[in-house]
């Protein structure tokens, strides 16, 4: 039982990271109906910029984390303004290819700037690890869970309590009617991308101390986040978080009781099963589209 709970906690912590990656996909998808395959690179960037800032520049963690988040957010902003906005009249597939291109470019740039070595940073500290019986919750795990909790609350507040957040929802539901209300769809798209990039960057910094930062991390984090967003029901922020937690926990249970080699396959097996059995996602509502 204790072993199971320990495995569960590990899964939840990893699942929180996947959930944050999935939130990025969801927020950008809601604003622009685009799947941003560069989203995983924001997590990669958070990690490598944090390690760079700590090990090369010698910044304390408390400064290096905001720097890493800001760098990631700035890159999201540039990506939207310079690349996607100028190509907005292209067809959908072209835009998706562009995001893949951006992902590869960021990966290459990170390898050039920060090198190809895997690097570690110390844990954030301050929060002590919690020991309940023989089950322990690591300090960094508590940081990760708390961050996701605060982030969810902030996003809930933004999208359901502020006019600005409601305008973003309106622009995603009825883009034309929103424009007729004076809401700029371009602005909503930029803000969505900055939010996704900042959340991704933050998730990347949080996981850097427990699973080394490397320029290669973006692809698998992106795919896991994408799977989580789809499993939860694409476009649904709560579903994104639940999807992330589900994949994290099932991966962890698989690694603990079956074999860790199957861990990565299992996330995608879940994705395939959900797409076959419940295509609208676990938290999604059935969509009836008029032809």
């Amino acid at each position: 039982m204790e072993v199971f709970i320990q495995i569960l906690i590990t899964g939840i912590v990893v699942g929180c990271i996947y959930g944050m990656a999935a939130l990025g996909f969801t927020i950008v998808y809601n604003a622009t109906k685009l799947i941003n395959f560069a989203n995983g690179e924001f997590l990669m960037l958070g990690g490598v910029v944090l390690t760079g800032a700590v090990t090369i520049a010698g910044l304390p963690t408390g400064v290096a984390v905001p720097v890493a988040v800001a760098v990631s957010a700035a890159i999201g902003w540039v990506m939207q303004r310079v690349i996607l906005e100028n190509a907005r009249h292209s067809d959908h597939l072209t835009l998706v290819m562009l995001t893949i291109g951006v992902a590869l470019a960021l990966r290459g740039a990170a390898a050039l700037v920060f090198g190809r070595d895997i690097s570690f940073v110390p844990e954030f500290g301050f929060i002590p690890l919690v020991l309940v019986g023989n089950v322990y919750i690591p300090s960094q795990g508590i940081w990760i869970m708390l961050t996701l909790a605060v982030l969810s609350l902030a996003l809930w507040y933004l999208f359901s309590r502020t006019l600005f957040g409601k305008a973003m929802r309106a622009a995603s539901q009825e883009p034309r009617a929103a424009a007729l209300c004076g809401i700029e769809p371009k602005k909503a798209a930029v803000i969505a991308m900055i939010m996704a990039a900042a959340i991704g960057g933050l998730a990347g910094t949080l996981m850097a101390p427990i699973s080394a930062a490397s320029y290669e991390n973006g692809i698998f984090l992106g795919l896991k986040g994408f799977a989580a967003a789809v499993v939860g029901g694409l476009g649904n922020p709560l579903g994104a978080i639940l999807g992330g937690l589900l994949i994290g926990v099932i991966e962890s249970v698989t690694a603990g009781y079956v074999a860790s080699g199957f861990k990565d396959a299992i996330g995608f097996i879940i994705l395939i099963l959900v797409l076959i059995l419940r295509p609208q996602g676990l938290a999604g509502r059935a969509v009836i589209s008029r032809v």
Partner: protein
């Protein structure tokens, strides 16, 4: 005559290779209803979508109080006070009635918008009853009222209505048309009304025109067109309707 709020001059526009509007001219004045009637596919909705900035114009001009708005983005035109209530209402279905109205006044001072919303509730008491309800769960007539209310929340100078009677019961249509007259009389708005329900649209119109295959083929006062034999034949169901 009072001032021209919106002037459309020799407007040519269309989609891709297809030209839909072949030189349309019209103007809307303060406190006047201009009704545009015409068959399906005559270009009525295209005209409104072009004025709103969704369709690029090929030649001609659109001016708001003398200033060209022909190349502006839809959100800019909306903020300038030309509000388009689109065909099919397009309310934000997941948001509440009140939230829909608040978004209608997006970008304007909160207190001012809230005062306007109170006034909108006086015009549409039904919306007040349903202020907390999700817009998508309301009836078609209520959604139409909300769509108009959402445009009014910005206190527009020109209101453009695309088929407001579509799919509604006759009693509801009458209520909406009475309200359109009140907006003209009490608030002095310039109203551009596009309708397939030609008889109702011509009855309340100060000025009217017939749009046919992308051209204005007839124009006059609402009463003139209502009694014009050609209009009667084409849109008002023959001789019975006069």
């Amino acid at each position: 005559m009072s001032e021209e709020l919106l002037t459309v001059e020799n407007l040519v526009a269309g989609y891709g290779a297809v030209e839909v509007l072949h030189g349309v001219s019209l103007s809307i004045r303060k406190g006047q209803i201009l009704s545009i009637v015409g068959a399906n596919g005559a270009g009525k909705s295209t005209l409104l979508n072009t004025i709103s900035g969704f369709i690029p114009i090929r030649s001609g001009d659109i001016r708001q109080e003398g200033r060209s708005i022909a190349k502006q983005a839809p959100a800019v035109i909306a903020r300038a006070g030309i509000r388009h209530v689109p065909e099919g209402r397009r309310v934000f279905s997941e948001l509440s009635v009140e939230e829909n109205l608040q978004l209608g006044g997006y970008g304007q001072p909160k207190a001012v918008v809230q005062a306007r919303i109170e006034h909108i509730y006086e015009l549409f008491p039904r919306l007040l009853e349903r202020r907390g309800q999700a817009a998508g769960t309301m009836s078609g007539g209520e959604q139409q009222m909300l769509a108009i209310g959402r445009a009014l929340a910005a206190d527009p100078k020109v209101l453009m209505l695309d088929e407001p009677s579509m799919g509604l019961a006759p009693l509801v249509v009458a209520e909406i048309f009475r309200l359109i007259c009140r907006l003209r009389d009490e608030m002095g708005m310039g109203i551009l009304l596009v309708e397939q329900n030609a008889k109702a649209a011509l009855r309340i119109a100060d000025l009217a025109c017939v749009l046919s295959l992308g051209k204005v083929t007839m124009h006059g006062t609402g009463a003139e067109l209502l009694h014009n034999p050609d209009v009667v034949d084409a849109f008002l169901g023959g001789h019975k309707a006069a």
